[in-house]
């Protein structure tokens, strides 16, 4: 896999469940060594896709390679080369931390001194040293996720699939988890991670957005934002808020207004012009504007714009 350009390279991947098209002819290319984010709302087809790539679920149609192995013919050979962490916690809750690690090392054929080294490493990385004999069901969600990641990479796979790894975990544990992902990535592991958290998507080198079973956009977070949000965004802090919101909808050069807490996000055609005009426009109506800033559109802004442009219907 070392001379492989794409860790994942599939075309036309499709899965139909009883006439429901969960994943609809998607093409994915994941460059080796990157952290690849697979972003989309719940039910968009993220888990179905990742499960097809891991060989858990047979695709209805599609072709390509994962880790250099053919999707159809070589899924068994692929298994010793990939790590997978499912959305639902899937270690044995009635085994201890150490027993889970020993078990998965065993089924991944990691033996002897290599096993001792890997288990020690996993315990260290997950911060579970000293908790080896705790039953897994007694661990808090954050620890469990880290243990699950540890178990998934005991055999040092070059390719790692993580399905919503941080759902239901506190923010501190989420940050810690992403540090672990970064560490693995630094070691050359290709990480394919699904999420519906926009802030997590910002950590990824590349993103694919999936919506209603279709991939609607691909690219780095910066690319997605610049390509799909062509207009500038201003953030205003007006007082009072609601009359300003109503007035701005009618203002010249304003394309859209949205409320963010006590502030307004205003989409405009020309940022510099609007920065001068809008406070005056509001001032004439007795509204005081204490602050105007040009802001970078967030991924969320980009995602909304992409979905609107794609014309794909919600299902």
């Amino acid at each position: 896999m070392t001379d492989l350009e794409f860790a994942v390279d599939v075309r036309g991947l499709t899965r139909v469940f009883d006439h429901f098209v969960a994943v609809d002819h998607i093409d994915l290319r994941v460059r080796r060594g990157l952290v690849f984010g697979f972003l989309g709302p719940n039910g968009a087809g993220k888990s179905t896709t990742i499960r097809m790539l891991c060989g858990i679920l047979r695709p209805t149609a599609g072709s390509g390679t994962v880790g250099g192995f053919d999707l159809w013919r070589e899924s068994e050979a692929l298994k010793s080369r990939l790590g997978y962490m499912s959305q639902k916690f899937s270690l044995y809750e009635d085994l201890t931390v150490e027993e889970n690690l020993q078990f998965f090392a065993g089924v991944y054929n990691v033996h002897g001194s290599q096993r001792r080294r890997r288990i020690a490493w996993a315990l260290e990385m997950a911060g579970l040293v000293g908790r080896e004999h705790v039953l897994t069901r007694d661990l808090a969600a954050g620890w469990r996720q880290r243990l699950a990641l540890g178990c998934a990479v005991l055999h040092e796979p070059p390719l790692l699939f993580l399905d919503e790894p941080t759902s239901g975990v506190d923010p501190l544990s989420r940050r810690r988890f992403w540090e672990m992902i970064a560490e693995l990535s630094d070691r050359g592991v290709t990480v394919f991670v699904t999420t519906h958290y926009m802030d997590e998507a910002e950590h990824c080198d590349e993103l694919a957005l999936i919506y209603a079973g279709k991939v609607v956009a691909c690219g780095s977070p910066a690319q997605l934002k610049s390509e799909h949000v062509p207009h500038a965004l201003l953030e205003l802090t007006p007082s009072p808020l609601m009359p300003a919101y109503a007035a701005l909808k009618e203002a010249p050069g304003v394309l859209g207004v949205a409320i963010f807490g006590d502030r307004l996000h205003v989409t405009v055609a020309d940022a510099d012009q609007a920065k001068q005009d809008l406070p005056l426009f509001l001032g004439q109506r007795g509204i005081v504007v204490s602050k105007v800033d040009r802001i970078e559109p967030s991924l969320e802004d980009a995602f909304v714009a992409i979905i609107e442009q794609s014309g794909v219907q919600e299902r």
């Binding site: 499960r51 891991c54 060989g55 858990i56 679920l57 047979r58 068994e76 298994k79 010793s80 990939l82 790590g83 997978y84 499912s86 639902k88 916690f89 899937s90 270690l91 044995y92 809750e93 009635d94 085994l95 027993e99 020993q102 078990f103 998965f104 065993g106 089924v107 991944y108 054929n109 033996h111 178990c151 998934a152």
Partner: protein, 378 residues
């Protein structure tokens, strides 16, 4: 090969740890067979003893008293009433005080003395057909040894006229001389216990992985479906054998039932049945999504096996259509094998045909199950 063996070992190890953590389940699994043996040993016991008897002795001779004593000494009958007239005895039968009315005619001793067949008449309460059958069978059995003919008048369920030859017959019941049903039940319970632990427990153990989602993690590892299933099944095979041992010990020391045949033959032929059971457990696990479903379905599969295997009801007393249907009941063959080894010290020469049928069952069911299972996990 060694990698494969190592993976299986890891699954077995993991399974034993999980079993030992679930204390309540563990205790149940190990205690259940012995409890079942005791329940079946006593409750389903088809021996009937102390059948209440009313005797109407018109002969009142030494030989008639001798005959009645003989009945009582068998342990199956007790004299509940000595009547002077048949109507009095019949009233007792109608009221349910006695189950059998025995009438000895006045010429009983005379006929015997002259070397003729003496006749006695027995009225049997047929309201419980089981007891009636057994009581009349006992009566005939005991009477056979004497030149006495029992006539069952046309009344109740046990109506039959049995004409015995004049010559003295000495019946011998082989293999189970005391006709104790416990002797018959112990080997059968052995079979049922093995089947229960294998079908239901294996199915539950596999479905639990589905229910908790742990199977997802297993599927992405290099372990093969066959290795995984074998690893999950081995602990239950071990438990099945332990349970068999427990039933045998309890049978030996509680009921005094000892095995006549070869232990190694029993254990090796059991492997054939184990294949069938694993196949069934696997099939159950593929169609179930929850442990409850697996448990229900497993029991549902067990029931016809219990009914149509001759475990409780003898196959020979079933309607002919049903008798023919029992051909497809695997437990039937295994019970025949185990009873054969247990009671008759049967060997390969007697059991090869049942063994081959079991082998065929095992191969077919296990192959089908593995096929369905492999398809299902993908």
């Amino acid at each position: 090969m060694t990698a494969s063996l190592s993976r299986i070992t890891h699954v077995v190890w993991k399974e034993f740890i999980q079993l030992s953590r679930d204390r309540r389940m563990f205790g149940l699994v190990l205690l259940m067979p012995v409890i079942e043996l005791i329940i079946f040993g006593y409750v389903v016991a088809t021996d009937i003893t102390n059948i209440a008897l009313a005797v109407c002795d018109y002969d009142r001779s030494a030989s008639s008293r001798n005959y009645v004593d003989h009945l009582v000494h068998s342990g199956y009958f007790r004299i509940a009433a000595q009547c002077h007239h048949i109507t009095e005895a019949n009233r007792l039968l109608d009221r349910g005080v006695v189950k059998v009315v025995l009438t000895i005619p006045p010429d009983f001793s005379e006929k015997l003395r002259r070397g003729k067949t003496a006749e006695i008449s027995a009225l049997v309460d047929g309201s419980n057909s089981n007891i009636a059958m057994i009581a009349s069978a006992y009566l005939e059995q005991i009477t056979l040894t004497r030149a006495v003919q029992v006539r069952f008048p046309d009344r109740g369920a046990g109506d039959r006229i049995v004409v015995h030859p004049r010559v003295e017959v000495e019946p011998r019941v082989w293999f189970n001389p005391e006709l104790r049903s416990v002797r018959y039940m112990v080997p059968a319970i052995l079979c049922v216990v093995l089947m229960e632990s294998l079908v239901v427990l294996t199915a539950i153990a596999i479905v639990r992985e589905k229910e908790r989602g742990t199977i997802e993690q297993i599927i992405v590892t290099p372990i093969r479906a066959g290795e995984f299933v074998l690893g999950k099944a081995i602990p239950f095979i071990v438990i099945g054998y332990i349970n068999m041992g427990a039933v045998m010990l309890a049978g030996r020391y509680w009921f005094g039932v000892e095995m006549a045949g070869s232990m190694s033959l029993l254990l090796s032929l059991s492997l054939l049945f184990i294949m069938t059971c694993l196949g069934m457990g696997l099939l159950v696990s593929t169609v179930s999504n929850t442990q409850q479903q697996a448990s229900m379905l497993g029991q549902f599969l067990l029931l016809p096996n219990l009914f149509f295997s001759g475990f409780i009801f003898p196959i020979s007393s079933m309607p002919e259509v049903i008798q023919r249907l029992t051909v497809i009941v695997p437990l039937k063959y295994y019970i025949t094998i185990v009873r054969g080894i247990f009671l008759k010290n049967a060997g390969w020469a007697e059991l090869w045909d049942e063994s081959l049928v079991l082998l065929a069952f095992g191969v077919v069911i296990l192959t089908a199950a593995s096929f369905v299972f492999r398809k299902e996990v993908r």
